[in-house]
Symmetry: C2
Subunit: 424 residues, 2 copies
Amino acid sequence: MNVTLSATLAANEDIARRRRAGERILNLAFGEAGLPVHPALRERLEAASRENAYGPVAGDASLREAAAGYWERRGLPTDPGLVVCGPGSKPLLYALLLAIGGDIVLPMPSWVSYAAQAGLAGVHPIMVPAPPGEGGTPDPEQVEAAVLAARARGRAVRSVLVTLPDNPTGRLAKPRTVRRLAEVARELDLVIISDEIYRDLVHDPGAAFLSPAAVAPERTVVTSGLSKSLALGGWRIGVARVPSRPLRDAVLAVASEIWSSPAAPVQRAAAYAYTEPPELVERVAASRRLHGVVAREVAGRFSRAGAIVAEPQGGFYLYPDFTPLQRFGTSAELSAALLDRHGIGVLPGTAFGDRPGNPCVRVATSLLYGEGEERRLATLESREPLRMPWVAASLGHLDDALAALTEKGRPDAWITPALAPVTP
Amino acid sequence: MNVTLSATLAANEDIARRRRAGERILNLAFGEAGLPVHPALRERLEAASRENAYGPVAGDASLREAAAGYWERRGLPTDPGLVVCGPGSKPLLYALLLAIGGDIVLPMPSWVSYAAQAGLAGVHPIMVPAPPGEGGTPDPEQVEAAVLAARARGRAVRSVLVTLPDNPTGRLAKPRTVRRLAEVARELDLVIISDEIYRDLVHDPGAAFLSPAAVAPERTVVTSGLSKSLALGGWRIGVARVPSRPLRDAVLAVASEIWSSPAAPVQRAAAYAYTEPPELVERVAASRRLHGVVAREVAGRFSRAGAIVAEPQGGFYLYPDFTPLQRFGTSAELSAALLDRHGIGVLPGTAFGDRPGNPCVRVATSLLYGEGEERRLATLESREPLRMPWVAASLGHLDDALAALTEKGRPDAWITPALAPVTP
């Protein structure tokens, strides 16, 4: 089997190992939200500690109804009978691949697990770049050409995926691009899978957000979850909104044979979260502001170091391109230099399906908020999060690394001075 | 895709629907343990409500160490580095199928999801009956013949599965059968997957239990979980003990792309459970006694009604064979009659891969303990659980159904008198 550990999870485990061995590493590789659980959610989980029934495969009715309400408030009327819950949106995406079958068009670059899941499911990912300046959506005209070409070669292509807003680029597809993609999907009879797990973390609440489910409701699946907006990654809860009963049934068939149902106490807390009570709406808003401030700040530092960086519009990622430095031939070389010489963990563009020769890395900024609940909460509540001492110190480490990385001279000069190994 | 909702989960949801519509149904179809969460586990989950990190794909170190200790106490020295945790043993079994690759030999009959998972993974299940009087292990001599025949046809066969003790038959394979199977597996270079999720529920604590991991440690994977012994089905936690680093890495690669990690708060509670503190050892012992008493009682009733029933030795299942009645041509006919005419939900043998013409059904006895935590706990703590009013009433319903089912005369006479629909 030709699959390795998910690139983000592997990077995170590698960084933890290096830290235990005494290396000083700044973890900008892992897409964990880096914030504490809101007390209201803790209370709901604790109150549900008696819940031990498997429950329905699709998820408890209260959770499906709450998720339907969540989508309705975003202009997508939703039948709770067409909501499927899973232990994260990742397993839901995998079940969708198996249920839909056929090859899938993915944006290039795109989240590490889409293509890997396609490999596990035995289908081909067809990588198509986004339109210039955008991210998370494959260019509609190129999609059309790629699908027709694949079909001419005898391949069954059945779906296309978008990530709104995007991981790794942090960019939000323009409504006109989404509309055009929906037209192409309709012409080619493709299911659109719209991964909107970062939707509530679009930095500008007034930004024009268009879900393909609004323009092609008959063929769009929306996936989401609470891992990012409410920092519940480790609780494993995701939701999908499917367009038809047959697709729902096929997803449930897969779900029932692979995971049965999400953890029952977590479902109860998630049902509460999806009703969007004021204290959680405020928490999501505060998180969004923090992610935006820090992601833009870090983007500015990469930009000043000479990289090309599109301003992040959502989530906590950026995707700097080091081509102007003319120093790194591949993204793997670049990420290895950042980690081994400068103690900065990031992921190479190749992990996201990008061309090896594009010297791009994905930078996740959400683990800059500090270690431990107390510091993270203080950062979240601060009016000047960049001035929190632990945030400032990490940004200083990053500055040193970028200065050394971009300094002219012998390779040895690149090593960040602050990086003498620390005894554990 | 040719997969339907897992037979047990589908039956459970169908019964819930019928009950909501006013039908009086006794649910003997669903393999849920039917007992409450122990307060010590609730406390651990509640204390872990702050845990929201994804954590390692293999599971937290404390959980892996505790699980290793659990196996060590059962005579299987275990490296925590070779333990992989998942959200249930079901996803672990699926990951193993993908990681090992190739066709798999399964006992016939065997748990509904093994063959279905093989279908999802694109491999063939080779169904081989158990030796006469046994269950859960394919007959070793027939395994050899079947594997050689499949290989002669060009199939790659890479694994064989055993369930100790068994679902659906409730039988425990004899040590000499396990030994012989291990020899055959070694000769044929097969991985043995030993599903031991019911191991702690073998009714007679003095029964001779042999895990293939004790005799073929180099090629045996053991899977287990807390869904049955501690009734944590809805919490979704399972563990696997793999024999080698390459297989571990392959399983982790799959896990990292499908589910990331089990829910963090659940992992904390599970880590406590696997240390086997006295109050949980006592809870498992009480559960084992209750399951044994009730399963044997129900087996006696099916037997007196004329079915052939091997005495259940573990878990909460029996597998009566209605051939002597000469009334049902197929297991599907039999289970449909039990549900539609007599309000008894069971699963047909075909759901377990048995031949359609074998009029066998799987009867799960664990939902006889009553509805709600209070009744279930009272049943668990009772010295005469069969006399608890709700248990006695359900057994009365079963008696009426079996009497009507086996009564000579017109089909109409079979309808159980007590089954006039109840207004909801």
